[in-house]
Symmetry: D4
Subunit: 252 residues, 8 copies
């Protein structure tokens, strides 16, 4: 596309329709992405259906609505994360097709397009209180075109439930582990299966969990290889990276 | 295999060669890996040439040598990380084919087998002082069967060198970013290209870098999606995970 | 039990009622606990009356109620910790026999069974504000079948009250020390008596107590041997471990 | 002035109108500023129009109003920072000419006097949620007599928008960079342009941003020279320092 | 004994051999232990063979030797912890019967007396580098009269080795878990077996292990009950507490 | 007193009125304070008018009222700290003579007795927001029988006001410095005058003040000798220690 | 210049000398700096004499020498910071004109060119131990073409020496304050004079200075406006920024 | 004195010997101390024998020696703290009367003058490894003219030794408590006796003592009133403040 614009411009120069000074000015005013770093656009060309994403925390309702209105014409699929119910209700006033995933605190607006990857992402979570972040990862990965399975409530205190589901662990292509408190579940999973593990520490816990610091440090120090870590409570980031991994070998 | 052992046992029970009490005892004493979690072996079957890895820090020379002697008969390829020169010299006494990558502080023993992935892993590093960790990632990823390229010394103070190499950024399949100090390079790279980025904070810096804490926190909070983080100075972990990613879609 | 299931299966194999392939499939699908790690069940066999425990923090009322409904048929005794009044009221709607220990923020549902250990657990607390956590330890230890005594308000500023009660200190079998602020009470008690001390730092305090960090570090560094530490505000964990200790030598 | 007072006193001594003992007493009781450190007054003489500033956080409404009433007679221009709406409403009751910059949480009372510096301060912010702090910097710098431009929403995830505005980056005399999360924007800007950069970490983010610590450490460790840092969320301090810089070479 | 001294004194008072004023003075000067807190002596009466313990870190060789000389006449068994080789050599000059456990950095002087508890303490350690602390626990527990077994190198990366040894886990009376890095092993063990677990975080690791902080926080936040924690690298404390537990129900 | 009780007992033993076994029992059951540590009582004898103090934070209204009712009969003067308005109102229901110092969040109940020290304690505070803690120190020191002066709002940004009041600095016997943010005021005061300074860091500030940590560390590292520090926001502790100092040389 | 290259290219397209496809390729391959961010070069054009700077910490001697050899042909003036004596000796072997500022740990190679700014930068330091960092700032600012004065050893404990030098404080155009321990000197200076202050925390101190953290936090929280902060021990950064400020209004 | 100088000047003005302009100049150039803050001199007048103090850490041998040579003519008594043996040896070359207190790492040069306070300062220390800091406090307090007693090795693990010495605790006028690890000794002492306690946390310990942080936080949170804290390992500061307290009521 950009290539096309530049090509047309050069042809116009060649044809004498545009003089050199004007051509320089036009080249300079080409948006940045014309010069080779056209990340977002290229991206959209390659994998249609990828949503624009709005991180809602710290934004006012007015700002969020305004951003969605601005994005709506050009984007068939928009995603709003860390969105509480009020955010959803404000969005619904301008986009009646918005769907709210309450536990995941995620709003999906419009319709994802394109096919879904066949391989499975498994989202494993330790405790009931970790589910909102796990759901954020699930909803994100699904929105990005993946088949996602859940394996919840398999924390260390009930680790036999994890072992009972070993088939699902081995069957997954990518595993996301969501755990607060001591975050040991990531180490256990990585010690059992030979799959890439994306570890999400959560702020679940109390006392010396220090709002997720304990789980974060634990996961960073995981002595089994094949584990990488995202920010505390960053279910979206884990779902996004899991999607990148899962679609790595796929023809696009 | 395990299935075979269990099958034989059941047939013996059926045939009356083994009585039920004895069969229960035998079932209980089956080694763990017989029950489905035989990670390491399976692994080795799938992708021949994968090395056994020894993390040398905190181990005595005697312990390291003993582990290598124990692993040598069964393993064609062994890798020792965080190995200083004394470690290498001790290893060479028992394995004359050991090769030392001094900057990477890594010893490779024996010969990797199997083919090399075609797609490229690009290891980007910020400053000269980050190179030992970057090299650890490079040597690891190469040892695991990947084509690896280096893009060094492209830290924020010389960020134009990064932009000059945008072709290489776009050409890579997976990117490892190694940076100390403020660790911003991971964010810059992730903001420019749509490739999975594995960020490695290093302990390079002084003062409020707090031995890599500044870079670690910076990378964890990266606001561009598609970035995951490993432990401070964990070049091995980054190289390993990059290899998993890079070989994700490949037929094995 | 599990043993019984496996035995019956093998006998069926022997008798030709089940063929070998089917037997392998059945063995593989046996739940994890059949293979030797049946912690919870074994446990219940050994010491009847042990409750199932639900940690309420971070769970919604709906989730808590659902868990209790699921556990109710099989469990005579259920315990819910970190439960505020709303949790209790939600529980009471489905289990009218629920009893609320308000200060301990603990709900007991159903009736503990089995005998009570004769030896005494002494729960010592420093200040009035530490009592909720101390009560959580007391209620927990009682629920697990122990005789528990309280020795409250014997903090360092009123340490003579501790000395006045030396008979009770010496008479106890296990001592739980609950203290916030500087947490020195654990050291004082451990310096006076030769009994195992379980130290519980609390988040009581202000300023440089940093929500219990001061007490936690103080207790971890206790220079008197015989002291172990649990998480900040973890009265349940202390009560539980005290119970394990107290019943250690008892015939079960 | 002070010199005058001392001179008159000495002349009175010389003339015998004041005796020596009395002169010593008077000299001793001269207010501090008479002795050379008359910062605020001198200041006001040099650059008329400089406001008095009240930091509202932690002050009661009554205290704030009282301070404004006390300052009003002598000060033509007063500024109140970190002022929420209630503060503004309380101020307006005594000063109907108060103007509220809601996003900046800043109240301006009275009229700035004096000319405006010609050179431009550019305030760059990373994300929408950083705008309140960015606005605080903008309002402050404007109130101190500067031409200020905004360049918002150019965080790393949308870094191409930064590059699209390179003319504005190069055109500015002083740049303020406001960023939360990983704070990398300060490094990127400082790596691109050769202008003094005042970095303001914000508490925007979650998880391991630790209320702005990640951004703060990142900015302090910026490996590009020409970057200095102010306190987390200190938009006022950045605007103030930017003003000092911007007016450095100007005739006053 | 003390009781005897007081009794004799009172009988002397009764007999008129000691007058009341003198008796008061004598009562006041009775050593502390006479007044009821005679911890160490009582202790020694109850379980002969308990050693005196010297913590060597931070003490000069001269101080250590002097303490041992002072203790030697009255104590049949002395133990020196955190003792490097130089300490041992200095001790051997005054006590030729000193035995050095090099890996445990522990010196045993003299001969433990009394019988050994029958039940077993199992010391589990994660990695080779954790062994010095594990050995400190082992040597301590043995010195205090316990049967101790080792289960080493069963960290999460090789967790199948842990499962292979489940019989030993179930057979132990008390379990000590020694682990650095992410410290997840304590959680895994506590999730598998219903035995009291004493968790010892070690300073083994690098980067974000922050000298054992990661393992410490992880262990404190263990979501499986039945886990208590001692200071980082405190193998002695764990061995000591394990001994107290192990001998809890034993007749003494 | 205690001496009297012991004397009488010994005389009874001598007279044969009490036999030796009974005497031993009585000696053992003497309350702790009989043995020499009767701190509180002695204290009250020495300096009549000293109040009993209740720290209200973390206590329920019911607990506070109950403690006051228990203390009331024996104590002419009671003090409640960190008491918000609700606490005061609850107290007033049982003690109508309670007086509330609202800014100091302190309730005084009853009438202090005894004379007032002549020398002056000067309480210096940095900013308006520090006044609640400064007032707590003032009210405490006055309640303990001292003449207290205030020197408020002399923070570093208005340090000339401090210099204007040098007479008062030099005239004081003991100085309490209350400051949040960077806490530099303590250093400045200690650098100017040769009086003991008790530094109170406050949680006033934002961002990298980290709830008082910045001020606390600053004060602990004060390079001028003659400065000691109390906990963040501990106005009571500072007032109490200032009182002890101020009355040090006084005849009591 | 770049404009010229693009213009020539377009004219060649127009003239048919270069076809469109080739022209697109050439446009894409233009080096980064052609597009407007040629920071370093522009910079050098504007203010001749600016040195290239090498940060030596973490680099090997070989790497440092190699960098200098590479820079030498094109750069008349090179500066090496955090350079210990060995670094200097290695440099001198390849550049005999290298001059070592030992206390500043800085090597200057070659000759600065261009005029020196007339206005003065004053570098103020608290204690003798802070001098190495202060000297680094001095040497840096001088190397960048400024007149620099020193005011050393005026820490809070000897703050009268600061007041004695008020003329120099008022005479400076920019002030750099270098202080460890509590870092209060920055606040004191900023409270006294109306000049921009660049605060450099140093790692000088012990105990709760936590390697400069106390000074860093103190300086960040400075309640006097006009203070900005650089990294702990970053004398170079402070000298650099001071130079930018000092030359702000100067014709270049 | 200063008063005299000013008086003479004014009289000269009156007499016409000095004209007014010159008088103003002279007044302005009067050294700082003339204006009322003559701390050090006044000090020296009041309590002869007070030493000048040099903090040696971070200073080179040359700097220390130079400072002593500069101070020697005017000061009869000089004290050097945190001085290792090399410092002492360097000092002895220029001052042969220097006396080294090796454990206290303190050098005393010259002879203290003036009388010694009668009341006693008691320095209590927890463990053998805390003695160097305790000795620093002792030597400091003695050098400042106080009678000092030692009560060492009375840490919590041997707290009965503290109780055995209650007479000495009650007999002291001021108590300094020096303790590392958990620092509980300060709380215990403050809970037992009604004397002002100056708490010195030490960096003695390991693991979660975090170089004295645990002891520091513990002491700051001491719930017994009458405790103030100095920096970690600051024996000098404690000895100095204890001296100020001890001499508070004394005629000077």
């Amino acid at each position: 596309m950009d290539r096309e614009r530049i090509k047309r411009l050069l042809e116009d120069v060649k044809a004498g329709k545009v003089d050199v000074t004007e051509a320089i000015r036009l080249l300079k005013s080409l948006p940045y992405e014309d010069l080779g770093f056209a990340k977002i656009d290229t991206h959209r060309e390659l994998r249609t259906g990828y949503p624009e994403v709005i991180f809602c925390k710290g934004k006012t309702l007015e700002q969020i609505v305004k951003i969605i209105e601005r994005l709506s014409p050009a984007n068939k699929f928009i995603m709003a994360t860390k969105a509480d119910k009020k955010v959803y209700e404000a969005i619904r006033k301008v986009r009646t097709d918005a769907v709210y995933h309450e536990m995941a605190k995620t709003v999906l607006i419009g319709q994802r397009q394109g096919k879904t990857a066949e391989k499975t992402i498994l989202v494993v979570s330790a405790g009931t209180a970790d589910q909102p972040i796990a759901e954020e990862a699930v909803v994100t990965a699904e929105a990005l075109g993946n088949t996602v399975e859940r394996l919840y409530d398999v924390g260390v205190a009930g680790v036999h439930r994890l072992f009972d589901n070993k088939e699902r662990l081995f069957g997954a292509n990518v595993i996301v582990v969501v755990a607060g408190m001591e975050g040991a579940l990531a180490s256990v999973v990585a010690g059992l299966v030979d799959k890439p593990v994306i570890a999400v520490p959560t702020s679940v816990g109390y006392g010396a969990s220090f709002d997720g610091l304990a789980a974060l440090l634990s996961m960073l120090n995981c002595c089994a290889p094949g584990v990488v870590v995202v920010n505390i409570d960053n279910g979206f980031g884990a779902g996004y990276f899991a999607s990148v991994l899962n679609q790595m070998g796929e023809a696009k």
